[in-house]
Symmetry: C2
């Protein structure tokens, strides 16, 4: 019906016109409401009327912007990705991550992304994608669109000579963070996650030191210039 969700949702809201701005604002409100609802009631109980009500708009307005529920869900994930981006920019700016110690970045990732309730929403979407193949394809597309940038950031962060091992390390950390998110959700009131995070940092520091070319034991915590050149 309308253009794809991404076209409008991610388009920088420049001076395109009044209705475009109104439209973008409405989409944002709906996505925010949907995300809140998803966090609060869970994927299973999430309904389109409820999203509209929370956004304070009619169902008609909603269906105009998001024709189907799947469209709405894709919109939510795009919105989330946007939030993550903004959080990263707020923490590190657009700067090269070569100067950021691994533990600093990891703590940021847990605190601002994986440890937040909204990440559970993302997980629920991913699990829902398992059975709804069409939705899954669209969600994967959203996440794939940032995988390139993410790899680049990790490249700056770790700078393993062996890129294959670097990727392994990256995915391992990702799996760990996701697992921690689940643990935090299910066994709440449990401080084991903090300990696990610290333990992984400890291990990671050693691993990074081992993988890097001129390795000293604590090389990862004090970063130096990106490339000696």
């Amino acid at each position: 019906m309308t253009g794809t969700a991404m076209d409008q949702a991610t388009r920088p809201e420049a001076a395109i016109g009044k209705q475009a701005r109104r439209s973008a604002e409405m989409r944002r409100r709906l996505c925010q409401a949907a995300l809140d609802a998803l966090c609060e009631v869970g994927y299973d109980s999430l309904t389109t009327p409820m999203i509209a009500a929370r956004a304070g708009v009619s169902r008609g307005a909603q269906t105009h912007h998001f024709a189907t529920k799947a469209d709405m869900l894709v919109g939510v994930l795009e919105y989330l990705v946007q939030i993550w981006d903004e959080a990263r920019l707020a923490a590190f700016g657009g700067k090269d991550l070569s100067d950021v110690p691994f533990d600093v970045y990891l703590r940021f990732a847990w605190r601002e992304i994986f440890g937040k309730p909204s990440y559970i929403a993302a997980l629920e979407l991913m699990l829902a994608a398992r059975v709804d193949k069409a939705l899954g394809e669209r969600l994967r597309q959203v996440l794939d669109s940032i995988v390139g940038d993410r790899n680049l950031r990790w490249r700056q962060l770790l700078r393993f000579p062996d890129v294959r091992r670097e990727e392994q390390f990256q995915y391992m950390t990702l799996c760990l963070l996701r697992g921690m998110a689940i643990h935090a959700s299910f066994n709440r009131g449990d401080d084991v996650n903090e300990a696990v995070l610290e333990a992984w940092i400890e291990i990671a520091d050693k691993l990074i030191a081992m993988e890097r070319p001129g390795a000293g034991a604590k090389s990862s915590r004090r970063a130096r210039k990106p490339v000696p050149r």
Copy 2:
């Protein structure tokens, strides 16, 4: 109404009577059907009529054994835990795990438990528990009932002098496996999990060697008697 689910589901089906056996069989069929359905259509689309239909029983029979949907879900998790137990027994018997190398156990855990589609079902239940507090309490109770045995097994497996660090290591591995399960579900057709598993084994071996008292580099892969005594 009837006794708790566990009483009947886990009670050894000895000569208690014809009715008890029939009941246990029916519960088993329903739980198996519910698990299958959960794996196939996902938590969101799981319905009670659909479970009954798959089990080939009437809805009346179903509601007799599981009055509410939540009862049914608790039953599924109990059933799953039972399956995991059986898989472990089939692989290692009831024997002490002190002789089992870590990598063997970890590979088993991935192959027979976390890497299976049914583990996603368990994850979906855990995520559903986030919003349904009452269900969550019951599910946690089911899983808590095995946490003692699990800790014992890991104690045999790892034998860290520092139990605190051992627990850390255990939870770290658990988080990793859960994260891998999600990755396998969402990004299927991806062999990165195997690599991550191997990488973790490699790291773990070193960690185990470091934590153990008389440590040689490869001490973890060739296990020796539980306690020198």
